[in-house]
């Protein structure tokens, strides 16, 4: 829907100095010190000159920013439930269009649905799929901290293989989480979504450029943001950005985009650091570095390599065409 022509002009972020300096989030929220998801939210919102409508799913970002009567949001914001941010955002987008047609709304705002990995990979997957299929003009952001952190670090289908959580504990029989992380990007891309990308809070320029590109699309878009949780992953609050950076540099979390089906790696990692550099910062993987779990570590390494190869192959094939 062509509600706001200004939005259709995509400008990549060239310099940190061009970023909007008017704060979109107020301090005083109750997120933990060093919260990765809050960094993601700030970077996303600062990257835009216009104020989007944000529809939050239930989760860490939602509860910590909205304790009545305190709201940290300096953009129009609403929370309804856990599993339906994509559906609520669909309604907002359709309503804006109806009001615009009736001449009661001057300009449509960008709509951002914001959910964690639980609200996206698990309980919100159906609503997300529906919204993608219907083609609403909205950006769906998944801030991925790889478990249900708000309820106390329970595993989700985004939790990586081998990771400790409170429902994938490490024991004689269990290696931490026994299943591999769901390929949410693959699911989204399979919908024919015009633009989907991964991003990391450590690579702000890449992230902000992707937000701008997503918002400029005339249809549904998806951003999968890696947002470490120091409480859940068991690392020092000061290391949030460093952990996110190492996830990229070890190829654990590849940064790429898929524009109209075309894959492109936006942050190439020619010489990956050893995976241990990423794992060793985090308590949730500490068991993997013990000799008795060397097989599990080997398996995780092969999962990481396979994931990278798959994306790399998709990107290379299309580069040749």
């Amino acid at each position: 829907m062509e509600g706001n022509s200004k939005l259709s002009q995509f400008q990549p972020v060239k310099s940190i100095f061009e970023i909007n300096r008017e704060e979109r989030m107020a301090p005083g929220h109750r997120a933990c010190a060093g919260c990765g998801p809050m960094i993601a939210v700030r970077q996303i919102l600062q990257s835009l000159d216009v104020k989007p409508v944000v529809i939050s799913a239930t989760g860490c970002v939602e509860v910590t920013t909205s304790t009545y009567p305190d709201s940290a949001w300096l953009v129009p914001w609403a929370h309804v439930a856990f599993e339906n941010s994509a559906a609520v955002a669909s309604g907002v987008e359709a309503a804006m269009h109806a009001l615009k047609v009736r001449g009661e709304l001057k300009e449509e705002r960008p709509v951002i649905a914001l959910a964690g990995d639980g609200g996206t990979f698990d309980i919100g997957l159906q609503a997300l799929s529906g919204a993608l299929e219907r083609g609403h003009r909205m950006l769906y952001v998944c801030y991925d901290n790889e478990a249900y952190m708000n309820t106390g670090i329970q595993r989700s289908s985004a939790t990586p293989f081998g990771a400790w959580t409170t429902t994938s504990p490490v024991g004689k029989e269990w290696p931490g989480k026994a299943e591999i992380k769901k390929d949410i990007m693959g699911i989204v891309v399979a919908h024919g979504t015009p633009y989907a990308a991964t991003a990391s809070i450590s690579h702000w320029k890449d992230l902000m450029t992707k937000v701008r590109k997503a918002v400029s699309q005339n249809g549904p878009t998806f951003l999968h943001v890696y947002a470490p949780c120091n409480r859940g992953w068991r690392f020092e609050p000061k290391d949030t950005v460093e952990v996110a950076k190492r996830a990229v540099e070890t190829r654990f979390f590849p940064l790429y985009e898929v524009e109209n089906g075309r894959y492109r790696i936006t942050v190439p990692v020619a010489k990956p650091r050893p995976l241990e550099d990423f794992l060793s910062l985090q308590g949730r993987f500490s068991h993997l570095l013990k000799p008795e779990n060397s097989e599990t570590l080997k398996e995780l390494k092969s999962i990481v390599e396979e994931r990278w190869s798959k994306i790399n192959a998709a990107a290379s094939v299309q580069a040749q065409v």
């Binding site: 300096r21 301090p27 005083g28 970077q43 009545y68 709201s71 000061k238 950005v241 460093e242």
Partner: protein, 110 residues
Amino acid sequence: MSDPRVRPVGPYPISQGGWHEGGSSKAYVTNDWRLEKPVVDLEKCVGCLYCWVYCPEPAIDLLDRAGKGPSKVRIDYDHCKGCGICQQVCPPKAIKMVPEEEEVANNGSI
């Protein structure tokens, strides 16, 4: 004993449906969350904005909010939770973390 049907006066007004003007969290102070506080050496600060772009609060105030170039910063000590990310990401290492109790020359507490 007072009439049990009378509603007690709550700490704040009750809106219809629980909405509120955005940004009201700013009145909530989180300075007692931290054990260490960041101190900015304004001599070393190059105004690169990295601490601002990585701050989860935001508790980094830009001295040049309206500009389009480098801006030096000061810490919002009412809201900084002391995570130390700003110190980690600062390219010229202009930020150091010091114990909360330590008296420091005020570099722009707001």
